[in-house]
Symmetry: C2
Subunit: 310 residues, 2 copies
């Protein structure tokens, strides 16, 4: 059987392990490709990435890395074409969709305080929190990925492993790394907004009624945190059901300045006094929305304006 | 204006701060009630809990605490009635729904290795990951809450704070604590199962198509991790859309042994060869499902069996 891609920490290669070169990393199984920065396939996901000085677009903040995709470069590392969401770039998106851990290896780079002095260093597991497109200085499109360090608590929920179906290649992880819980932390402002909407989705009107009260999610149109630095203001927040929150974050749909939807049929429902900043809508369309070949019918229910009474 | 409930860390009271008694905790604002173990209301959520030796049902694992609700006790701490999902118990559910951080204070308890030697100690922020009901030895119903320690990375995503709407009382947090991303980590087996279902929800048939591939979530019927210790086997996993995953975890609906739904109209769609263990279904019905007064129409779309072709 062919070697199977392994996600997660490689036994006997804890964070901090240093390798002299890429052949050594290949031999250890920490990063298999000897040239490519991203290891993985669109079907399986990406299992590791190397950050080195080559990509001047990368922003290394230690526990958060803004990683730039591959492609569109000449042999002197200059942008000469748009990057496409294929190959390694698409593999990173698959890791985002599946919540797969990505091994991050930093190569020597004297301009980066987080990089090793020489060689390569495995620096632990990160997850792909989001991806979006930007236009670099020369006018070409690039894809960027926000990698966030996994914390012990997010990867150490033990499960009862079974012998069938879990093994990957020859390595059997002693504990399965799983996080199946949704973690949505809202700001006070976001909670207030959700209450004003009575926890009804501004796209479809759904309100999830639980025995203990209703549930909705607050979505920031322009995301909080670097590099987007969207504000935590009502003009940047929507009240959505989990499905439409997921679709919005993944760029399945976006919103025009007149509040009609793009990518889905319908219009954003809005309460009097809740003014959305069209600059944030433009930011989302520009960076997150990508047109599908056709509009897949993913509308669920009717726009909330027709349907709030239920 | 009345004092407003404050969620999160109290300034000048870092984790590890020790208090001699509950009056001191009240003065510091760390835990306001001088008798109740849970501070909060069903509308606002719970901002702090005290764990002390009194509740023999609590399980303290350090970073994970299985906390037992209040009520149903006599003055000698014996169970004499069913606990209800009201008051402090319901406040903890609200904190779960909103993702609010809960301050955990441990009281002296020589049987608990994580408890202080004397007095009370603030031990940091936890989140309410889930809640469920159980029947204790004497046959009475109790409510339990899984509290999981917040990690630095999960609470330190900075945002750009605004002066309006964020202040709580006199305290203005210097950084807003927000996590708006969904973290779903799947086991290899769960990923395989989702692929078999072509990422279509087994309840409503929805498949979220993104520009980079389709998205669904794997739901363990009997949860992984303590105290449930459900197995990571196909017989314990469902492929669901985010909405139905949320509803399932929150007990809005459950599944009968014949795969008909309870709490929602419809039937679980199932592929040939995917056998669900009815013991896990019974576990979910028993611990997570709670009947609403009426069935709210929360079905979205049609059962997948009629609808897989789209």
């Amino acid at each position: 059987m062919a070697k199977v891609r392994f996600f997660g920490e490689i036994p006997h290669n804890p964070p901090g392990t240093v390798y002299q070169n890429r052949i050594q990393m290949n031999a250890a199984g920490v990063h298999m490709p000897t040239q490519a920065g991203i290891s993985g396939t669109p079907r399986e996901g990406a299992d590791s990435v190397v950050i080195s000085g080559g990509y001047k677009d990368d922003i290394d903040q230690g526990d958060v890395i803004i990683y730039t995709g591959h492609g569109g470069r000449d042999d002197r590392w200059r942008h000469i074409a748009d990057q496409e969401l294929t190959k390694g770039n698409l593999a990173l998106v698959r890791s985002q969709l599946e919540g797969l851990p990505v091994r991050v290896i930093r190569g020597a780079d004297r301009r980066n305080p987080y990089a090793p002095a020489s060689g390569y260093r495995y620096d632990g597991l990160f997850r792909v929190e989001s991806h979006w497109r930007e236009v670099e200085e020369g006018g070409f499109q690039i894809w960027r990925f926000r990698l966030v360090r996994e914390t012990a608590s997010s990867i150490s929920v033990p499960s009862v492993p079974e012998t069938t179906g879990i093994e990957r290649g020859n390595r059997i992880p002693s504990r399965t790394t799983v996080t199946t819980q949704r973690v949505i932390r809202d700001t006070a402002l976001a909670r207030e907004l959700k209450q004003r909407y009575d926890h009804s989705c501004q796209i479809c009107g759904l309100r999830i009624s639980t025995p203990s009260g209703s549930y909705a999610e607050a979505a920031h149109i322009r995301p909080l945190g670097s590099p987007h630095n969207g504000p935590d203001t009502a003009s940047n927040i929507l009240c959505l059901c989990p499905n439409h929150h997921t679709m919005f974050d993944l760029g399945v749909f976006s919103i025009n300045d007149d509040l009609s939807l793009v990518g889905l049929h319908g219009t954003l429902s809005i309460l009097p006094g809740h003014a959305i900043d069209t600059a944030h809508l433009a930011y989302h369309r520009q960076h997150f929305y990508e047109e599908l070949d056709r509009i897949v019918d993913q509308t669920i229910g009717l726009p909330v304006s027709d349907d709030r009474s239920r």
